[in-house]
Amino acid sequence: MASDRIFGLITLITAVAYIAAATQIQTNFFSGDYLPKLFPMLIGAVAAICSLVLIFKPDPDPDWPMARTWGNLLVAVIVLAVYSVMMTPLGFILPTAIAASILSYQISPNAKQAVLAGIGLSLGLFAIFKFVLMLGNVVAYRIPTPAKLWDAFSILIPFVGH
């Protein structure tokens, strides 16, 4: 009950904000006055109506995970985010080995097995990408400077990165 109401409220607010943003869309001579705004506003309106339906007629709650699992999921998201920005300065092998190990550990908590899985996946995928798929440029390893590392990492910090 509560979950659907919260979801409905979030989508309702988003829909209203979306309509508001749509009214601000710039137009010019080529596009006509209202055509670029029409469809986004229609979408927002439909979404808003459906959100109201959801708020007044919610479904039963799903089984939400426990606090510990939320922590695990958050860790997974952070690992993936850091992985995303580290691919550019560090290349493929090292970030992949670390990220895959952590994710593997999160699915099945066994440290030794997870590290082996991480290293195996990293080297195996490197070999496949480089020698079978000929995408060596994508998975090349790189040696970074501290400045480049910080540059990449700062992307994740709001207002600091670019």
């Binding site: 979950s3 659907d4 979801f7 989508t11 869309i25 710039q26 137009t27 010019n28 080529f30 006509g32 209202y34 055509l35 670029p36 029409l38 469809f39 986004p40 979408i43 927002g44 979404a47 459906c50 959100s51 339906v53 959801l54 479904d59 799903p62 939400w64 995970p65 699992t69 695990n72 999921l73 997974a76 998201v77 993936l80 985010a81 992985y83 995303s84 920005v85 691919m87 992949t96 990220a99 593997s104 550990y105 999160q106 699915i107 099945s108 908590p109 097995q113 997870a114 899985a117 195996g120 996946l121 990293s122 995928l125 990408f129 798929l133 000929m134 995408l135 994508v138 990449a152 992307i155």
Partner: protein, 501 residues
Amino acid sequence: METLANLALGFSVALSPYTLMLAVVGCFIGTIIGALPGLGPSNGVAILIPISFALGLDATAALVLMTSVYYGAMYGGRISSILLNIPGDEPALMTTLDGYPMAKRGEAGNALVLSGAASFVGAFLATIGLILLAPVLARVAFLFGPAEYFALYLLAFCTLGGMASNNQAKSAIAACIGLGIAMIGVDSTSGLPRLTGGNLHLYDGVDFLVAIVGLFAIAELFFFIESHGKGSSIGVVLDKVKIPWKYIRETIPTMLRASGVGFVAGVLPGAGASLGSFLAYMTEKSIAGEKGKFGTGVPKGVAAPEAGNNAAAGGALVPMLTLGVPGSGTTAVLLALLMTLNITPGPTLFRDNPDVVWGLIASLLIANVVLLIMNVPMVKIFVKILSVPAWILLPGVTMVSTTGIFALTGSYFDLLMLIGFGVLGYFLRKLDVPTVPVILGILLGGNMEDALRRAMTLSDGDPSYLFSSPIAIGLWIAAIAGFVAPMFLRGILKKPQAVSD
């Protein structure tokens, strides 16, 4: 005659040694993808698109590879349904109902071979149906103007929402999320940015591949972290595999009927393979009646959903190729592939790129034969692959998906969006909001808006133009009926739950 000439053209494109090799590789990968729980045809094809694109395959080669993967995944889905009682993908859910009880009785091999044969019959008949129906529909599609196209897109969203979800409001919200995301980026007529919030990365819009891979593959990782990968070990032992001729003979009428039902379900825009297997199973169940003992492990209960599911997979290609409106989640992903390859599906495809269309159809026939040959003697190999533990599989899939997206766009911003879509997909699925309409929205949003804008320009802003032709009115009625009817039919057409031990 014309059809045969076209087919000959198709085979001349698809029968080169290189494309044949791609078909075999695609079938093999596809079967594995379909068999692994948590990796269905949609995310399988989605993960492979960036990679095939980065490989620089030409249009025909990429299409052959991906359709083989698509058909392969449809075949593979049954393996884990039968052996583990876990549907490898959503359409395979119905196969668990009779397949798993059969396997528990020690007839796992029989069930696998029988379902393989049923898949072949379904897919083969559907491909024949596609060959006959698609050119006709492509000619009809020339009558479609912007008003008709707008109504057709609406129909796709309405029927998809009606069938795929338990709550119309939720599926409509999902479609709106997708359509809303599709609006982001530079407007094609004014050349001005829309709804980007000033972020330069968003001027190009949101790449649908990022959304697809995020919503399907990354979200799956979060689900496995939540469940700690439980339920991914082999449940039933498979001993000798023989061909159960008796079962196959007995179930031929079932397979033929189920293929027909499945094909029709697949052709309906937005309905897709899940509906095909569901309707095929339910039809056979009501024909057999109480004495049929459906649900206790009868061969007919294995043959019907598999034939229906594969026939629907073929049928879903009809609206995708002729109208550019996909009939299911996976065909939506295939549509994404075509758009990545700069091929616009629709009536003109049959006129302008006959080699692509007929090459695709020929490769479907080839893939089907390859799959039948591959699936009977090699079923044991696929069963072995099923025992890959989740703690290797899921990190591997995640890394392949991120690298694929990175290879395609080379931008960290897309990778961060990928994770964002993964988180979104997790919450949406937790809340029982279907994710396929989101994908369809992102894919079709631009076209749907174009249709609306052209209609409004032609009519000088008169909304009644949208209902000005009989075809458009018919589509609007079908759309509204498709959206409203499931609300009343939900009590009657209740999906049976998977059998529990």
